[in-house]
Amino acid sequence: MTKELMGSGPSSRPGGTAVMARYGLRSHRWTFAAVALLGFIAPYSTGMAYAAAAGTEALRAALGRETVALGPQLAYLIPLPLHPETAAGYIWWKGVTWMTLVLAAWGLAAATGIIRNEEERGLTESWLSSPLGRVNLLLQRTGAFALIALAAVAITGLGTAAGVAAGRSSVGLLALVEQGSALLGICLVSFGVGLAAAQISATRRGGLMVGGLVLIACYVLDALARVNPSLAGWAVISPFHLADLTTAVVPEGQFNGAATISLYAIAVALVVIAAASFRRRDLYSALARWPARVRGVSREPSNNPLLRFPVLRELWEQRVGLAGWVLGSMVGAGLVVSLARGAGKLLRSSPSFSGYIRAAGTSSAATAVVSSIWLSIAAMIGAAYAIASVSHWASEDSGGRLEMEIAQPWPRWKLVLERGLALTAASFAMSALGSLVVGAVAPGQGVALSAGRLVVASLLLVLLTLTFGSLGALIIARFPRAAVPGLAFVALLSFYVPLLAPLFRWPAWVLNVSLFHLYGTPLTSGLYWTGIGIMAVIVVVGFTIAVVAMRVRDVGS
């Protein structure tokens, strides 16, 4: 594809003006597949769950009451529920609102990748050397992403319709289109934020950080406005609030045309700003650069001792990102535990939700919240970190870094071992510090936790992360490019199998396909030895095969 683009300028042959758009469609295909899959499964599985939990009118009413009571506890994360006693209302609240976050994250990541990843790889320079203007390039890529995002949103609509049908109800096409237009709007705004942020920073990581901070600030403003009416006036500047105003799939819900048009207007404005910045700035540079510090020329190697030791050099190199992951774990832990008492009271008072307490194997509702909510989130953070690490390993391979490391007198098996140990150390830091926050905040919330169990639960989080990492190492040894999508698929499977298994009455052993199920609920119901055994076997076998594969494989060919 690249050769084709480089060999012939997009406008040099009939139909060539769309080359960049076609490339754009192709470059997003894997993330599209993941988002579309999630977009279908999330509302559909919610609909299945609704059908299973609310088979009669009385059960539907009870579920609605309990969800309305639970809503304020989660108002920091998602909008308050609307008509949760109906299938469409329940699916909107539990399935569709989360997709707002997924689509926003996708838009941001895609845009920063288009600008910075491709620039760092020299692709942008090649394309701009053809008779293709910068604005044209940006617009074609934006158009391609908009098309593919539209497809993902349409699949989310399909999932919503299927979910509502599973809940023995129906939703109109117009309502789906209206809801979809709001979802697409937030996705495109996030894409625009990513495009603009990537002009400000010279690296993708910097673009993600700037864009992420902007989006998080908007999201937090929307969330705060939900729980604090005095901030409601300010919320209108948050695109998340504008998206929340459309609740078309909910019975008696509304389509806020003005808010949706505003979303598209913001997206267009951001793309225009990004295009103007892209025209103005130098390639490989940020829009504005800090004045260069006057410093002497350096001829000496770094004295940093960490760079000279295995594992430590990996951790040092990832220090900024790792600090973000650790901080995220600590903040998440603190937030969940601080909400545990209130959520626990709700769980105890609700016949439907009391099942959560029983499932957690404890008599304390607050402990059940920490166990089932925080440890689930921590497990997902661990899985996400493992995927990010595997992505880093894959880029080391494709970027020639692995070749350079292997060219040194350093056995190949040590490189695999070093990766595994660095992942262990990083996941230990995340889980240990997250658990430290849990241990510190819990007493103040009246949550009784066993210190021993908390330690064991933390250590098992490391094992879970390593399990994902070992699978990644295994895939990467043979199919480096498939490692990240493959591992993301494993994570999705692990997330949905425990949700879908009871709905479809799958046999109990199927649950063991889910790595999250293998982790169990160590904080409350004790250790799930079968799961621990399976994870240990996966780690040992995965890394062993990865070592063997690394020893025999060709590198750099």
């Binding site: 760092e120 000496e300 050099r313 060219a407 040194q408 056995p411």
Partner: protein
């Protein structure tokens, strides 16, 4: 060949299918030699180097570096080698000095004074981030990483790509010093003149097969120049054709094109007797010089080339 052998391969093959790869390479490079490894793109130069470095595994044959098997004892082999890859890896946001410390850590130590000396010679600022380096500076960093450990064998894949002439000269000096210190140097390139300046022998590859191993003196014998002459009057065609070493004579009006092997004297004497308005010479590229070999190779059966 007597004395210590730095590189020895026997039937070394890497078959990627569709006639791509390296086939049946038998090669010996003596210790202390500066050896050029020449061939057009896709000839198998980088494949050979990657086999020596144990990056890729052979489909057949074997390779030794200082009598140590590259595949069976790769770590010992790489302890002896300073390596410059054809393409520099992505070190991202690391500063040059951090890359040096990182790679030095993998080798177990750094000689700061050596690094300081090399960075001065290469005029390389190690304080800048790798992503901010120009392609030339990235290449300089690669040279620094290859030379900094005073290895017994330097394996340099297209070492002067992107270097300016001054640094190329400095590079030639570094290679000369390394060989004076007893190191063996293997330089892969597709530019004959570049290899000529520093190497004592060269191997020529084409289509994954070794075409010829020759001393630089032998190469000079093979070498020819392409000449273009514009005459005021008629071209003395028969006289030109009768000269020894003059070939491929083509005349278009008053314009003569030919190739000259060896001594230019007779042709210049002839031109001196005619009225000439323009004379240009061109250095032929590698493929043109070795065209006869390449033609022969195409007619040979696989495996009989070396």
């Amino acid at each position: 060949m007597g004395g210590e052998v730095a590189i020895r391969t026997e039937g070394l093959t890497k078959d990627y299918g569709e006639s791509r790869g390296l086939f049946d390479l038998n090669l010996e490079v003596a210790a202390g030699e500066t050896f050029g490894y020449l061939g057009p793109n896709g000839a198998g130069k980088t494949t050979t180097i990657r086999l020596l470095m144990d990056m890729i595994r052979p489909s057949g044959g074997w390779a030794l570096v200082f009598d140590t098997d590259c595949q069976k004892r790769p770590v010992e082999v790489k302890r002896l080698i300073g390596y410059l890859p054809a393409e520099m890896p992505q070190w991202g946001g690391l500063r040059g000095r951090e890359v040096v410390a990182y790679v030095g850590g993998l080798r177990g130590g750094i000689d700061s004074s050596r690094i300081s000396n090399l960075t001065n010679r290469l005029d390389l600022d190690l304080g800048r981030r790798y992503r901010e380096y120009s392609s030339g500076n990235k290449r300089k960093l690669g040279l620094l990483l290859a030379f900094m450990h005073r290895s017994r064998l330097l394996v340099l894949d297209e070492p002067t790509n992107g270097l300016d002439p001054l640094i190329q000269q400095e590079f030639n000096g570094m290679v000369a010093e390394a060989t004076a210190d007893g190191a063996t140097v293997l330089i892969s390139s597709h530019v004959l003149s570049e290899v000529e300046r520093v190497c004592t022998r060269v191997a020529i590859l084409k289509g994954g097969r070794l075409v010829r191993v020759a001393s630089i003196a032998d190469i000079h014998q093979l070498r020819f120049r392409r000449l273009e002459v514009d005459f005021v009057g008629a071209v003395p065609l028969e006289k030109v054709r009768s000269l020894v070493g003059v070939d491929q004579v083509v005349v278009e009006g008053h314009h003569l094109t030919c190739t000259v092997h060896g001594d230019f004297g007779p042709l210049l004497q002839l031109l001196g007797r005619s009225e000439v308005v323009n004379l240009t010479t061109h250095e032929p590229n590698l493929e043109e010089i070795f065209l006869p070999y390449f033609r022969d190779l195409a007619q040979q059966t696989p495996g009989s080339s070396s």
